[in-house]
Amino acid sequence: MTDTAFDTTPAIDPAALKVSDEVAIEISNMNKWYGSFHVLRDIDLTVHRGERIVIAGPSGSGKSTMIRCINRLEEHQSGKIIVDGTELTSDLKNIDKIRSEVGMCFQHFNLFPHLTILENCTLAPIWVRKTPKKEAVETAMHFLEKVKIPDQANKYPGQLSGGQQQRVAIARSLCMKPRIMLFDEPTSALDPEMIKEVLDTMIELAQEGMTMICVTHEMGFARQVANRVIFMDQGQIVEQNEPEEFFNNPRSERTKLFLSQILGH
């Protein structure tokens, strides 16, 4: 909810982040119900390769549900979701294929506590991608270095701090070489100084051109990294715009109210 974590990070050059014309995710006319409760209503969203999208909105507005539909942790009831050219249906083969192409980081990390950090990172490449073990370990060490915790490789998740655990979770997703990364409030369970280390990792990812969809309340991150901010309320997309416009010149009343609350002015 603060901008403070950003005061020290260097601004990134938006020109370096190019968005291609290729469509990575296409959601059209998507609806979802929990029982009789209509959580997502007529969602239309097209994400191009290389986009960094931040989703904001009040609690219970359906942000998590929407990004969880993208890798089918939640099932949608009508409309279409096409990820990397594959439509999400109940076909299990397609679902597993899409899941291995789309990385996801959760609010509570969801690391596997019975495996070491290294095993957490090599598990999916070995079993899903059938990568030879040696190669999987090399890749894992590469990404652990990238998130700056190679020296923790043989510890268990329970022995790491929250920020370190979240960075491991990011590394674990990256080991699958995903083309799209989803983040569901990756920093909201962390202390301020840990927030910064996780956000730095995410900024680095963005600079490398990863397609990212990120649910977060870190408005500083949104300003700095996102090329589009989406505001959701009551299961609908209420407004989307470039970050500068979104923050300085919100169009809808709902957005204005939300921004005034979250920025605390």
């Binding site: 890798n71 942790l73 299990l92 597993d96 294929k97 899941r99 291995s100 789309v102 990385g103 996801m104 959760f106 509570h108 990390f109 969801n110 690391l111 596997f112 506590p113 019975h114 598990l123 999916a124 079993w127 899903v128 268990y156 998740p157 329970g158 022995q159 674990r172 997703s173 699958m176």
Partner: protein, 438 residues
């Protein structure tokens, strides 16, 4: 700081205290006794009373236990020996254990073949090693573990070697069918087809194959009838089988009970609730008498096999609920973590969910194991000679008529050793699998 707040500071420490040894009376054996036994007058009184009680108990029991009558061959013999040394208040007649030792161990198993059960017991430990101490034994030994049930059964019952081999082939048949069928339909259906194929193999084809192969190469060892089994040989055979098979079956039942497929779920719930709702004795009676009525006449369905199946099913139902408890304790996050990486259902279960759920359930699993092992004594009710059944038979014998405590203390002690080892092992395992807080 010092000069700006000088007037508001009431106290400033200028020398830091060094660390000191704790007072002697709080550490070491004296400290321990002080805090645990003699803290306050009430505790002191309780300690002294308890101590007197224990000393009194030992003083009374010890002479009975160590009366040296190991050589007596009958109860009268034993009494005479005690009278001869002037032992007035009586003592234990351990002679019965020495004299009936082979029987208590092996039942009526032919004496010249005792080496076979002994060898099986040794091999059992070899087979268990890679499971119990996975990190200290080579993985290759698991191959032996897989073959052991067939090898062990063959050594115990004897007969032609083609029996265990064709039984093993049943699994090969199942595997081949599975890999062929799973190319066409999904895993669940192919598993079902594979199981059906294996069952057909075991119940019909295998018999002819054994006959054919025995005619060509009659490789056989002396066969032993099931009614000759007894004593701890019988308890351990039934107990180990039930323990070995109840865990995997229980895991499958627990997964089935949480399945989203209504038919699978209904079947598992029905099975678990039915078995748990019926006393084991009833199941054993069904195994010993009723089953014969339903089976086609002339079927030779071994009584021990029937009892083993019933005990295994009984234990599996309990195991399923224990494992389900472990599964329920795992958060949704673990499933989502596994799903989001693209692991399929069975991979997620095997690599992520089960290792954690089973670890949580270790105390419950071991309790069930211990319960099953002790429940094997119930077979004495359907006139099989487990140690308790034998104890009754021995007491009916003229020379030992009237002996009571010695036999049951001995049998109890052996059961205790087994159950206590299982309990200690489970504690060791829990400690080993501890990987810090979540």
């Amino acid at each position: 700081m010092a000069d700006t707040h000088a007037e508001t500071v009431l106290f400033v420490r200028d020398t830091m205290l060094p660390q000191q040894e704790p007072p002697l009376s709080t550490v070491g054996p004296v400290g321990w006794a002080r805090t645990n036994l003699f803290s306050g007058w009430l505790n002191t009184i309780i300690t002294i009373v308890a101590l007197l009680f224990v000393i009194n108990l030992i003083a009374h029991l010890l002479p009975w236990f160590i009366s040296g009558t190991w050589n007596a061959t009958s109860l009268n013999d034993c009494r005479e020996m005690m009278a001869a040394v002037g032992n007035e208040q009586g003592g234990a007649c351990w002679g019965v254990i020495r004299e009936r030792w082979p029987q208590l161990m092996f039942g009526f198993y032919p004496a010249e073949l005792y080496w076979r059960p002994v060898l099986v017991l040794v091999l059992l430990f070899v087979a268990l090693a890679p499971i119990l101490f996975a990190d200290r034994t080579p993985t290759r030994m698991l191959g032996f573990t897989a073959v052991f049930p067939f090898l062990g059964a063959w050594l115990l019952w004897g007969g032609t070697i083609w029996n265990p081999i064709t039984a093993l082939l049943g699994f090969v048949v199942g595997y081949v069918v599975f890999s062929l069928v799973s190319k066409v339909v999904n895993a669940g259906v192919s598993l079902f087809v594979a199981v059906v194929a294996s069952v057909i193999w075991w119940t019909t084809l295998a018999g002819y194959v054994v006959l054919g192969l025995s005619a060509i190469a009659p490789l056989a060892i002396a066969s032993v009838q099931s009614r000759e089994f007894g004593g701890f040989l019988l308890s351990i055979t039934i107990g180990v089988t039930a323990i070995m098979f109840s865990l995997p079956i229980g895991i499958l039942l627990a997964l089935g009970r949480r399945s989203h497929l209504p038919l699978v779920k209904a079947l598992c719930v029905g099975f678990i609730e039915f078995i748990r709702g019926v006393p084991l004795i009833t199941l054993l009676f069904v195994a010993s008498t009723l089953l014969n009525i339903f089976l086609p006449p002339g079927t030779n369905f071994d009584i021990i096999l029937r009892v083993m199946i019933m005990t295994t099913l009984f234990a599996s139902a309990y195991m399923a609920e224990v494992v389900r408890g472990g599964l329920a304790a795992l958060g949704k996050g673990q499933y989502e973590g596994a799903d989001s990486l693209g692991l399929d259902y069975w991979q997620a279960q095997r690599l992520i969910i089960m290792p954690q759920a089973l670890k949580i359930s270790i105390p419950g699993i071991v309790s069930t194991f211990i319960g099953v092992f002790k429940d094997t004594t119930l077979v004495s009710i359907i006139s099989m000679f487990d140690p308790l059944g034998l104890a009754n038979a021995i007491r009916a014998d003229a020379s030992w008529n009237g002996i009571y405590w010695e036999l049951f203390i001995f049998i109890g002690a052996i059961f205790f050793i087994f159950c206590f080892s299982m309990s200690r092992y489970s504690m060791y395992l829990e400690r080993k699998l501890q990987t810090g807080h979540r």
